[in-house]
């Protein structure tokens, strides 16, 4: 059951990436949904605006395949604080520290649903 969910989430992630990757010759928007929903990594900002190379991250930190990092058991905030994954730069020196400005990267369930095209608001109808 759990595996099915993970596969579904991965497929959704892949579909999202495929949809938005057409914008440039980079990976587009990556929505990480594990361990929490959801974190948005924007290739647009990191590559086009900030001018990083593919090698900057895809040389040990992240696989090229979207969603691969999420399958690792250590894709957690603790790893980031220790300099892993995003934490390699987001350490408070190169870029803002991983334990600050949470909602800058965490788009949440709301942001993810928006990316999926769901228009759900808190203003329910009951």
């Amino acid at each position: 059951m759990k595996n099915v969910t993970i596969i579904c989430l991965l497929l959704a992630g892949v579909a999202l990436v495929a949809g938005s990757a057409t914008a440039g010759d980079h990976g587009g928007d990556i929505h990480f949904t594990r361990p929490v929903e959801a974190v948005l990594f924007s290739h647009d900002i990191h590559v086009d605006q900030l001018g990083f190379d593919c090698d900057s991250c895809h040389d040990g930190l992240f696989e090229y395949e979207a969603g691969a990092a999420e399958q690792n058991g250590d894709f957690t905030m603790e790893s980031l604080y220790g300099g892993g994954y995003c934490g390699a730069c987001h350490d408070g020196e190169t870029a803002f520290a991983s334990d600050t400005r949470c909602a800058t990267c965490h788009e949440g369930v709301k942001g993810y649903n928006r990316a999926l095209g769901k228009t759900e608001t808190a203003a329910s109808h009951h």
């Binding site: 929903e37 800058t104 788009e107 949440g108 369930v109 709301k110 329910s124």
Partner: protein, 250 residues
């Protein structure tokens, strides 16, 4: 610390406009005024600094319940993973068309650093609840011991005046139970069974929701509010209901 950093980056509008009497008032309550910012960091969550402090100041004087259940929300830690919402719905059988607690999202376009903030909201278990005052049949009431605003569902006639009276949009009509439903700090499902935390507080992976007893000086919530480093505020202080959900950053 984070707050400090953010403050340094925002434009300080100066403290000179703040009267000395107000300053003293803040200090008396054990709160320090670090600045007035319009960029969306400090004051924008609530409608005015003076009213916020006037409200929480009164709390510093007296906590009428034992335990005085309360929640301190570290709003900047919230990442909208909504595990709280799911845990709440599961624990308290909240249907998909309603909610006892939810996360709101605000964009702070003018801010220099973070431009987004998630704001968890729930019943504020006010000391002067308007919902209980307006209920014609006393179907909703404030527990005289622990101060939780409760529902006696068999008495609810569904007039929804409590929904109108609530300044926090904390109530909804549960069609299955044929009564208004609301957050009870998980009293039935958890606290009365000896659990220390509400389902939402337990489910939160980011330490946003600190639940505890405001009448106990050793409690986390008490210590989170009775300090001078960080600003603490409440939502809709002008409604005058003396809420028990506090907000802070950092």
């Amino acid at each position: 610390m984070i707050l400090k950093k953010e403050l340094d980056m925002s434009r300080n509008e100066g403290l000179e406009n703040l009267g000395s009497e107000e300053r003293r008032h803040f200090l008396k309550m054990g709160l320090v005024v670090t600045g007035l910012f319009a960029g969306g960091t400090l004051l924008s969550l609530s409608s005015g600094a003076r009213r916020v402090f006037a409200s929480s100041g009164e709390f510093a004087e007296k906590y009428p319940y034992k335990p005085h259940y309360s929640m301190l929300i570290h709003v900047d830690r919230c990442i909208d993973c909504e595990r709280c919402k799911k845990a709440c719905a599961k624990t308290n059988h909240v249907p998909d068309y309603g909610y006892r607690t939810t996360i709101l999202e605000r964009d702070v376009s003018g801010a220099l650093a973070g431009k987004r903030e998630f704001v968890p909201v729930l019943c504020n278990h006010c000391n002067l609840p308007q919902c209980t005052r307006v209920c014609p049949t006393r179907a909703t009431y404030k527990d005289p011991v622990n101060g939780i605003v409760q529902m006696n569902k068999s008495k609810c006639i569904g007039c929804l005046t409590c929904q109108m009276g609530c300044p926090y949009n904390a109530r909804y009509f549960n069609e299955e139970q044929m009564a208004v439903d609301k957050c009870s700090f998980c009293w039935e499902s958890r606290l009365s069974k000896g659990e220390a935390l509400t389902a939402c507080a337990e489910a939160c992976p980011a330490g946003v929701r600190i639940f505890g007893d405001l009448s106990d000086p050793n409690d986390k919530v008490y210590r989170g509010i009775h300090q001078i480093e960080k600003t603490v505020w409440v939502l809709r202080p002008e409604a005058g209901t003396k809420p028990n959900i506090f907000y802070t950053r950092g």
